[in-house]
Amino acid sequence: MLIDLRRKGFMSALFASAAFAFPSLAQAQSVNLYTAREPALIKPVIEAFAKETGIKVNVVFAQNGLEERIAAEGVNSPADLLMTVDVSKLVQAAEMGITQKISSPVIEAAVPPAYRDADGQWFASTLRARVIYASKDRVKDQTITYEELADPKWRGRICIRDGQNAYNTSLFAAGIARMGQPKADEWLKSVKANLAKKPSGGDRDVAKDIASGQCDIGFGNTYYIGLMLNREPERKPWAEAVRVIYPTFAGGGTHVNISGFALAKHAPNRAEAIKLAEWLVSDQAQGLYARQNYEHPVRAGIPLDPTVEAFGTMTPDSTPLVDIAKNRRAASEMVDRVGFNNGPGA
């Protein structure tokens, strides 16, 4: 009986690995997408692309580690296009040598120079602003600077997710670029002292904690508010309790990070991959991003979703994205040094 089972298991293993062994031998006119962007989010964009061009998109999604996977797969990698979130990851992918240059007038026309690599190794597809969620009832300020969050008047009133999360380290990295390391340390220490509780949860939980009265103000990305207001009925009250303020650095603008893409170095379907990349910054795809996920399109002239429009006008900070990527490690170490994740009073 057991022998029998084992033999069957072995046969089906053989069969299964035969079916899956050669992902790079997929049919012609297809493109292999390694994405750190959530499947539900990019699905409409990809489906529209497949419909328009007849090119099939094969997907593998993981938030982290895709770069290491591409590197490990090396010259045999089936990866064509890498889509990810956070400029640091794109810069790192280029540094790891797993990307190659895209020269496409279409993409260069759509993506402003500030939001792409000077050598064409990576490009932004959307902008994601790190903003302030403020209690509609308990916060009267209409404008605020990131620096002011260190003010003792916020003692016990701020909420935030894990300080090591990329959304936060990228903001802190921009802070280092703006203020210099020693001042940034002081700033983060004061923000930590102002926290209402130990960092945890996600950005939505920040809105929830404000709605419940645990804190008055917190950090979050804009699109979560759009999602909660329009698509998540049970979380609508959380978003309704907060107001979005576009904070700025003193003498600067609002911190934005990007989502973006890069062409894999050994892309077997290079032409199709570039087609997909061009599609990602097309009017149609950019409009989908704005409406589906409430992000800021990278391409000029694409209307924002009315929910986001209502937040006011956002002026992105001028700190170059590469400086943010450069300071990321310093920012992460600063989080450790300050003991940010231990919460207030620890």
């Binding site: 298991g9 089906s12 050669f22 593998v60 090396g74 990321r328 450790d336």
Partner: protein, 557 residues
């Protein structure tokens, strides 16, 4: 998985040394090498990296992470032991209303992955959840600041969440231990004038400690392996630190160094466990022993026992399962059953089944190798082959990716040298990679069970077969393997459920367009909209429940 742990050392006979290298040696060495491979790769990455950050890591990251991990692990073990031993004791020794159903239901939380439970708990106990809602309604509070309520996203919250899904490891072990020997020992102790409770404390507990320790070890390893729940609940464990160093600092070498510290701590723990228990044996009670009295608890004591045993079932299973069910029904009503979910279910079952078969096959092979050769070096190799279970999934992937890539590179080099076209990836990004990862991670479960089961079969069987001229192979397959069927089935179930729940390795090793239930759920959860993954989560739990029911029937036999 530890029902029979500790009995292994029962079969007497010293292990011996022999210079002859046999096929058994080759098999044992190959499997141990396979399991050690990712560990060695991680070590190489860690040691190859600059130690610049070591100052930062040792100063700012490790102390905090070690402290939080230590607190979490100790809390979870203490609470799991309290629940598991308490429930195991009541169910094994007493009769009270609802005992049969509850004794069975107590293992159900095992089917719930920690991260699912964490989400459900935050939802239930947070401000907008039903509990606080009722409080506000009842007392007329207007805001969270008007009253005190325990924070679920905290260390105590995390301890409770983890213990409520991990206690079955202790419960299964302690119930089996108590029912095997508890009654007999208690009868003996009582005949000497002990009360039942003091018999528990003075006679039974010390005797079953090896089995409990093995269960506790699993609780520790499961706690360390988790990343989803601890990150969400804001607990900065060593595994979270590995992640943060890898991702936030872009420092894979530094992450590997922290992973090595974690592994060192785990190995120290395993070594201490073995050492401390070396001379403590769980004696198997004589089969067929019937206790003099199976005391019936009646009246308020019966009700009390029933309530006490219901509590872990309610909190560990009914609450998270109910929350899942509610979301799943809503989602099904809105969107129907998505086609890709059925596909994902198929993929999950396929990968878990393949891995279970491979693990069982290897476990039998290694166990027979140990039994037939009685060589110390094979015994050592088998212990090494069990180390994969101590490897957090994230660390396993870090180690496995370069190894798989290297094998593919070699294979393609060979293929091209033969004048054939490049084949591309063969192992990486195929289902074989996932099965390999599951095998490395869960081989320990199969091995422990099969070895323990084998140990209960007297060696006289082997000698008799030998005398009758029956060689090793037919002895193994025709005589020993069939006798191991129940044990192998029990192990298979545990491995299968663990494979279904596994996330980090599946996520990074899976082929293009290949989703399992766990990766589907992750796709939704990583967007922060956990409830959209409710159907996938429910299917994981349901697919894990069926085998648990079978396991329970076997336990009762």
């Amino acid at each position: 998985m530890t029902i029979a742990t500790g009995q292994r050392r029962e079969t007497g006979g010293a292990f011996r040394w022999s210079a002859r290298f046999t096929a058994w040696d080759a098999a044992a060495a190959a499997v141990a090498g396979l399991v050690l491979l990712p560990i060695l790769v991680v070590a190489a990455i860690g040691l190859g990296g600059s130690l610049d950050l070591a100052g930062h890591t040792t100063r700012y990251i490790l102390p905090a992470a070690l402290l939080e991990t230590g607190l979490l692990v100790m809390g979870v073990v203490a609470l799991s032991v309290l629940i598991g031993v308490g429930a195991g004791w009541l169910v094994a020794i007493y009769r009270f209303p609802g005992r049969d159903v509850l004794g069975w239901a107590l293992i159900l939380p095992f089917a719930i992955p920690t991260y699912i439970s964490a989400y459900a708990y935050v939802e239930a106990l947070d401000y907008f959840g039903p509990v606080q809602g009722l409080l506000r309604l009842g007392f007329g509070f207007a805001s969270r600041r008007d009253y005190w309520f325990p924070e679920i996203r905290s260390m105590p919250g995390a301890i409770v969440v983890y213990a409520l899904v991990l206690y079955p490891y202790i419960y299964i072990a302690s119930r089996a231990a108590f029912s095997l020997q508890g009654a007999q020992m208690i009868d003996a102790a009582r005949s000497l004038g002990c009360s039942r409770l003091s018999a528990l404390r003075r006679v039974v507990l010390p005797a079953v400690i090896p089995m409990l320790a093995a269960g506790a070890t699993l609780v520790v390893l499961e706690t360390l392996n988790d990343i989803g729940a601890s990150q969400y609940l804001g607990i900065n464990t060593l595994t979270v630190a590995v992640y943060a160093t890898w991702l936030s600092k872009g420092d894979l070498a530094g992450a590997s160094q922290i992973a090595l510290v974690t592994l060192a701590a785990i190995f120290a723990l395993l070594w201490l466990e073995r050492r401390a228990l070396r001379n403590r044996q769980t004696r198997i009670a004589s089969r067929g022993y019937r206790p003099v009295s199976a005391p019936r608890l009646s009246g308020w004591r019966g009700i009390g026992a029933m309530l006490a045993v219901s509590l872990p079932v309610l909190l560990g299973f009914v609450l998270p399962f109910g929350s899942l069910l509610q979301h799943a029904i809503r989602q099904l009503a809105n969107d129907g059953l998505a086609q890709d979910l059925i596909q994902a279910l198929g993929n999950s079952l396929l990968a878990a089944t393949l891995a279970t078969l491979v693990v069982l096959g290897l476990a039998l092979l290694l166990a027979f190798a140990g039994r037939f050769t009685r060589l110390q070096r094979i015994r050592t190799a088998n212990r090494l082959a069990g180390l994969g279970y101590a490897l957090p999934g994230t660390v396993l992937v870090i180690g496995l990716l370069p190894a798989l890539g290297f094998v593919d590179w070699l294979a393609n080099g060979l293929i091209i040298a033969l004048g054939l076209p490049r084949a591309g990836l063969i192992l990486s990004g195929s289902i074989a990679a996932i099965v390999l990862a599951y095998t490395i991670r869960f081989l320990a479960i199969g091995l422990e069970q099969v070895e323990a089961g084998l140990a209960t079969i007297s060696r006289n069987t082997d000698f008799a077969a030998h005398t009758l001229g029956c060689p090793e192979r037919p002895l193994a397959w025709r005589i020993l393997a069939p006798a191991l069927k129940p044990v192998a089935a029990g192990a298979a179930i545990l491995i299968f459920v663990d494979c279904l729940k596994e996330l980090p390795a599946t996520l990074l090793l899976r082929p293009l367009n290949f989703e399992t239930l766990a990766t589907q759920l992750y796709g939704h959860a990583s967007r922060g909209s956990f409830e959209d993954g409710a159907v996938a989560a429910l299917l994981i739990v349901l697919a894990g429940l069926a085998p648990l029911v079978i396991l329970n029937r076997m336990m009762q036999r």
